[in-house]
Amino acid sequence: MRALSRRKFLKGSGALIVGFSAAGLTARFVTIPGEAVAQGINGPGSNQLDSWIAIGADGNVTAYTGKCELGHGLYTAQTQLIAEELSVPFERVKLIQCDTAFTPDQGTTSGAQSHPTNFNQSNLALAGATAREALLARASTRLGVPVDQLGVKDGVISVKADPAKKVSYGELIGARTFSMTLNPNAKRKPASEWTVLGKPIPRVEIPGIATGQFEYVHNVRVPGMLHGRVVRPPSVGATLVTVDESSVQGMPGVVKIVVKKNFVGVVAEKPWQAIQAANKLKVVWTPGSGLPNQRTFHEYLRNQKPTRDTFSVNSKDVDEKLASAARVVKATYHYPYQMHASFGTACAVADVQADKATIYSATQAVHPLKSTAAMVLGFKPESVRVIFKMGSGCYGVNGADTVSYDAALMSQAVGKPVRVQLARKDEMAWENYGVAFVIDQRAGLNADGTIVTWDYEAWTPTLGGRPGGNAPGNVVTGFLAGFEPQAFAARTPAPDPTNFGNGNNAVPSYVTGCVNGRCGGTGRVASQRVMTHDVKSPFFTGPLRSPARLQNTFAHESFMDEIAASLKADPVDFRLRHLSDPRLIEVVKSAAKTANWDARPSPRSGIRRTGIASGRGMSCVLYEGDNGYCAMVAEVEVDQSTGKVSVKRLVLANDCGPISNPDGLRNQLEGGALHGVSRTLLEEVTWDDQKVTSIDWRTYHPLYLGPDVPKVETVLINQPSEKAMGSGETAVTVVAAAIANAIFDATGARLRQVPFTPERVKAALDARA
């Protein structure tokens, strides 16, 4: 596994080969119009089979993917996919991932999108199916037997009635190109015939990681490589006045002070020398622009102008229905900024020469980074190559892109390769945070306790985000180097929605989601209004595992519980009465059953107001409106004297269509569930009037290993004939409400602001009637 050398294994497999000249690449990576999936993050891919699959003379298969391994098991699962579609053993497939010189432009990996993008009737899966059919057609000609009388095993096609008549993939195509486009109608192998896909094949990286052999981007070492250290501004909005280079003159190993507009970095021969010099460098900055008071920040969001207003649904009868309802329930929910806070700080190695650059990066988006790094360097994109190397888990747009610019800028300035790994405080103070939210909800109920209208209005801040292909200023280094973040596009009033989409899960699960006569929701409530106001953020923001979906689901699923409680209805039963989607109903029932759900209203009866109280709560979601079903039961204990919440057990049921690797799926769900516990109970970005103050693990609080970790039980619902969906972000989405609802069940106290710190829980307990 050490220095997993691409050249070596290409040579070994005998595959690859042709068409990789620069001119050839452009022609090969032709876009397929309309093929990019929702969110525009999936890139154009390629309609050329040779861009995805090559077969060597020895019959070994090399596959190329633009969706990278982020620790979510995708590398292994994609290898399984190709082995399955081509009927070759897993060991005979080599997967090349995310290298702009070799792999199709699949945009951003985006964990939860990576599975649906490459495991349905498009992209990598379609390439596998197309290749298999092409090989069968060639074999049919060669053997003089119709395709339906042929069978395939281990890369050998034989006549079913006369197995001695056979031909291998190597003989059919070895080391030559297919020279054909993907066939949109190529038939995937049905799940009932799978022998590799759908099996719990162990992840290929794990032995190397466990034994300290695996090469992360942090371990890339290039001959002549120097080390860079960034010097970030001391406060938000500060700009550079002067850098006193003489302050570090004569310090050992210092090579150069690099300044570009507001970007400052120090390059030295060794990392410790760069750190010492960066600490000592005298830099004068202007005062910061000042930050809004954190204690009143949610009110600040409500009052920010301008706004960008979006209706996700609007049946235009909500006010009327609220006015005529037998009862109206309302509540407001608050969510903080949170961080990706990757375990290892971001790192990149850049080798920028006069006319070309190579960047080793843990970015989720090699092709977009190629474009934006070129902008930062003043190069043409074709002069930049980005090679993905796995980093520390990112959970969204962490520091991987920004540090790639850091390394590129410093390497360009010194004309030698430079490695940069950020300091913890430099990553935490300046990353693109997961967004804060304030959410108001109202529900109108009729006399028999049915919801007749649901009203939602939210405010959430935004600045920057993924750099995409043209906005390096969306992350801090690009911004400091002189690029603006993507402009805030104000819009008031909101236009009427034209079609239903629930990519941000702004629409609750219990409404019909009808727009222009088409209903895409999962529930039964026909009267509905969902309005989101984006406002400008003082901090950079960006996708953090279940971006906006988690915050919205916390609000919806807590509110659903509040409505049920107001009617003294069992929270599971009340949900089921308002749901219409059978798969969402199934995960709710399945989680409840596995958890031995005790059907009764919340809060439980006979609560004592002192001591330890225990309770259970339910929450569910169809992630992104179409990308994975999940329901969770949380069981908690609340120490009513301290306000400390202990989550004891999480039971979740998940349906993401056909399961590609059950153990990998379970791993994602378990990790997502505990990530949710961490974010629900502990995590919150903090700041003073000038700067972020949560800059290490003592000021930003994560869930450590140890006694506070609950049991996690996962129920996997396999749907072999359905579409492949994502599963990396389903579990994390439902945790906060499940815990809030369990706390309410245990104590009668309602938590409406994340994180549920002991102080907040104590205050809610003290406020009980």
Binding site: A210, G344, S392, D696, R698, L705, G706
Partner: protein
């Protein structure tokens, strides 16, 4: 700059570095070892742990000058790809990681603790691991792997 003679994973190395340099930088940059990693540089996460005199030591806050002649064991000093150490095998068998960046800290901390206290109770193990972080939150599998190692050991 000063000369230090270090004994790492049974091999002798000589480095010429600033005595204040944290041991981590010497291991990962001068010796190009991949086990110990920079996570926080503050001794708050466990990423950089190595075993010295049977203790899991956080090498990011340990100056190289403080190590002396003591033998340093890193993750790659436990076992190999072909022949992983029992605790490494337990993590492989349980698939107890996602990105795996924290695995060094988890494995080295657990090993040092269980080697000192093989019959530790579950509560004691949880306590011993409570200063170690995993941001992919693979805690459940990691605890299973640690217990598997404890069983194999006894």
């Amino acid at each position: 700059m000063s000369i230090f003679n270090l004994k790492v994973n049974g091999r002798a190395h000589t480095v010429d570095v600033d005595p204040a340099t944290p041991l981590l930088y010497v291991l990962s940059d001068d010796l190009e070892l991949r086990g110990p990693k920079f996570g926080c540089g503050l001794g708050q996460c466990g990423s950089c742990a190595v075993i010295i005199k049977g203790e899991a030591v956080r090498s990011c806050v340990t100056p190289v000058s403080a190590v002396g002649a003591s033998e340093i064991t890193t993750l790659e000093g436990l076992g190999t790809l072909e022949k992983p150490h029992a605790i490494q095998k337990a993590f492989i068998d349980e698939q107890a990681m996602q990105c795996g960046f924290c695995v060094n800290g988890v494995v080295m901390t657990a090993k040092a603790f269980l080697d000192r206290k093989p019959k530790a109770t579950e509560t004691e193990i949880l306590q011993a691991m409570s200063g170690v972080l995993c941001r992919c939150n693979t805690h459940v599998r990691m605890m299973r792997a640690i217990k598997r190692y404890q069983e194999v050991k006894s």
